[in-house]
Amino acid sequence: MAEMMYWEAIRRAHDEEMARDPLVICMGEDIGVAGGTYKATKGLFEKYGPLRVMDTPISENSYTGLGIGASFLGVRPIIEIMSVNFAWLAMDQMFNSAAKVRYMSGGQLTAPVVFRSPGGTAHQLGAQHSARMEKVFMGIAGLRVVTPSNPRQAYGLLKSAVRCDDPVFINEHELMYNMKGPVPDAEYFHPLEGSEITRSGTDVTLLGYNISVHWNLKAAEILDKQYGISAEVVDLYSLAPLDRAGIRQSVAKTHRAVVVGEDEAPVSVASEVIAILNEECFFDLDAAPVRINSANVPQPYNHTLEMATIPNHESVVRAVLKLFGKA
């Protein structure tokens, strides 16, 4: 199993799928000649040419719609939206066309299209380049939403998303493209549904996805070493549908839950996970579930303020200690 960076894993998935099927194409701003802002399509333009690796104009809603229209005829476009903040402009086509066409045509048309886009707080990108929007996508019927927390998932989720007949939104993170991790040498398809236990534990379940899985892992380490608390880290790589059974199983064992996300608390991923905890785990819980989210402000530019906005492993440790009456 080779070590590979997150962006390299995504690039490899593109390359394999495009080599296999001439109807797999990719499109987006600067993805061709320039090789992609985060290098996820590096070298593909030279290999597959401009008809299949399309540098689009800066017209998010319409190039997204164009990809969706092509998918009605069996083309499998992988559409990169350079920053999830720009996806606001494409939501009309994503939601009104891709997510609904199967239903409103009575199953006649389907949109097997993949949207990839990074969100999250990176390095002082300010209010309009730091959005976390997975909360919006996961509430739309007809759309699958996945979010890889490591290179193995980034590779395997894209592979599965390309093959799946449903539209899939892949939520990436701007800070994670250079993260290194093992990726199977053989072709690998990551499940689009479910969750993964990243670290087993018995005292509390830390639920997270994408970058917050890493905060949770670091927190679990500290909780174990310094406080003797055994935390289980669950990776909710599928946000739509959420893995109700996986959440239930972990909390039935630990009886405590902390939900961690980089989005803002109102109507967050955590809001939905806590609703599931109420529905599935109410009598298993020994304490009220807790959520940890970003402050509800447009992301500030100033670095100190920016860091004060988003949670980290320390916020998780503090919340768990409070849950155990140790803080």
Binding site: S59, F72, S97, M104, G106, Q108, S160, H190
Partner: protein
């Protein structure tokens, strides 16, 4: 147009007109719900263009005034009416409604209810044709008001840039919902707005089907021969309001009467009578025969069809689960 084709299309246009008028009645009777956008007055646009193209072969997409476009592509009027009645036998199994008629088998790629939404979808269909190397074309029928959406400009740019085989047909009926075009749009003649993208464009009388046919032949040939997109503007008029809740207070009855003097069906009928290809009695018999067909076949089918089952409420949200399992579970390779 050949005489036989003119006679056939006259009957088709009468079917389209009577179908729509019967929808109006069913809506008043509350058998059709939701929003209902009717096509009378504009029949020569869809019919003229599609006579020059290949219905059922070329891909067609449009907005929410979509019943006639679907039927012209080959959709069974019975299935379209059943859709309006919300029945399981409807073209979208009762899940779509008036604004979302689909018939993929006949390459009618649907009616969409966000103004301007179909522009990029049409270009995408054309992109798929280009990739697959076929000689079909994509035809996008929309109204003049759609051209005030960003998707119009964004799509024209990409369609021209990539020389996509797509024909944009603008049915300019002079009103966007209840606002006159000169009150919403700086340039009334829509084909002039296209020149900035280097796209071939023309304007044509949309009431005279023979003129539409001739203009559309040039347009279709241009697109099919690989010269890239084309924009055809057809000047027309809708007799009814935008949808059913519209009392047409924004325009005069005199203006409506003036347009009805150039009714697309009567223009063709009178020409055929003048050419001695038919008599007024023939036409009256045709209307009677069509009325009988609409009432006793189309409406009857819709009335007698079953409702969708509530147990299947979620059936078409995602692809059939059983077929997707390798990707959902990761058990593929």
């Amino acid at each position: 147009m050949k005489l036989e084709d003119k006679k056939r299309v006259l009957r088709e246009m009468v079917v389209h007109r009577r179908f729509e008028e019967r929808c109006y009645q069913a809506y008043i009777e509350r058998k059709i719900g939701g929003f209902l956008h009717l096509y009378p007055g504009q029949e020569a646009c869809c019919n003229g263009v599609m006579e020059a193209a290949r219905p059922g072969y070329d891909y067609v997409i449009t907005g929410y005034r979509d019943h006639v476009h679907a039927i012209k592509c080959g959709a069974d009027p019975k299935a379209v009416m059943a859709e309006l009645y919300g029945k399981e036998t409807g073209s979208s199994k009762g899940r779509g409604g008036s604004m979302h008629i689909f018939d993929a088998q006949h390459h009618f790629m649907g009616g969409y209810a966000l103004v301007g939404g179909p522009f990029p979808l049409a270009a995408g269909i054309a992109k798929a044709i280009q990739l697959k190397g076929g000689d079909e074309i994509a035809i996008c029928f929309l109204g003049d008001a759609a051209n005030n959406q960003g998707t119009f400009h964004e799509t024209l740019n990409m369609a021209a840039l990539w020389k996509l085989p797509v024909l944009f047909v603008c049915e300019n009926n002079l009103y966007g919902i209840g606002t006159a075009i000169e009150r919403s749009t700086a340039v009334v003649h829509q084909h002039k707005r296209v020149c900035g993208y280097g796209i071939e464009a023309a304007e044509c009388d949309g009431q005279d089907i023979e003129k539409v046919y001739e203009a559309a032949k040039l347009a279709v040939n241009h697109v099919r021969s690989g010269k890239g997109p084309y924009f055809l503007e057809l000047m027309t008029y809708r007799y009814r309001g935008h949808s059913m809740s519209d009392a047409r207070g924004y325009r005069t009855r005199e203006e409506e009467e003036e347009w009805k003097q150039r009714d697309p069906i009567y223009l063709l009928r009178d020409r055929l009578i003048a050419e001695k290809a038919m008599t007024m009695a023939d036409y009256e018999a045709l209307e009677k025969e069509v009325d009988h067909y609409i009432e006793h076949e189309v409406v009857k089918f819709a009335e007698e069809s079953p409702e969708p089952r509530v147990e299947e409420l979620e059936k078409y949200v995602l692809a059939e689960r059983a077929t997707q399992m390798p990707w959902l579970t990761g058990q593929a390779a």
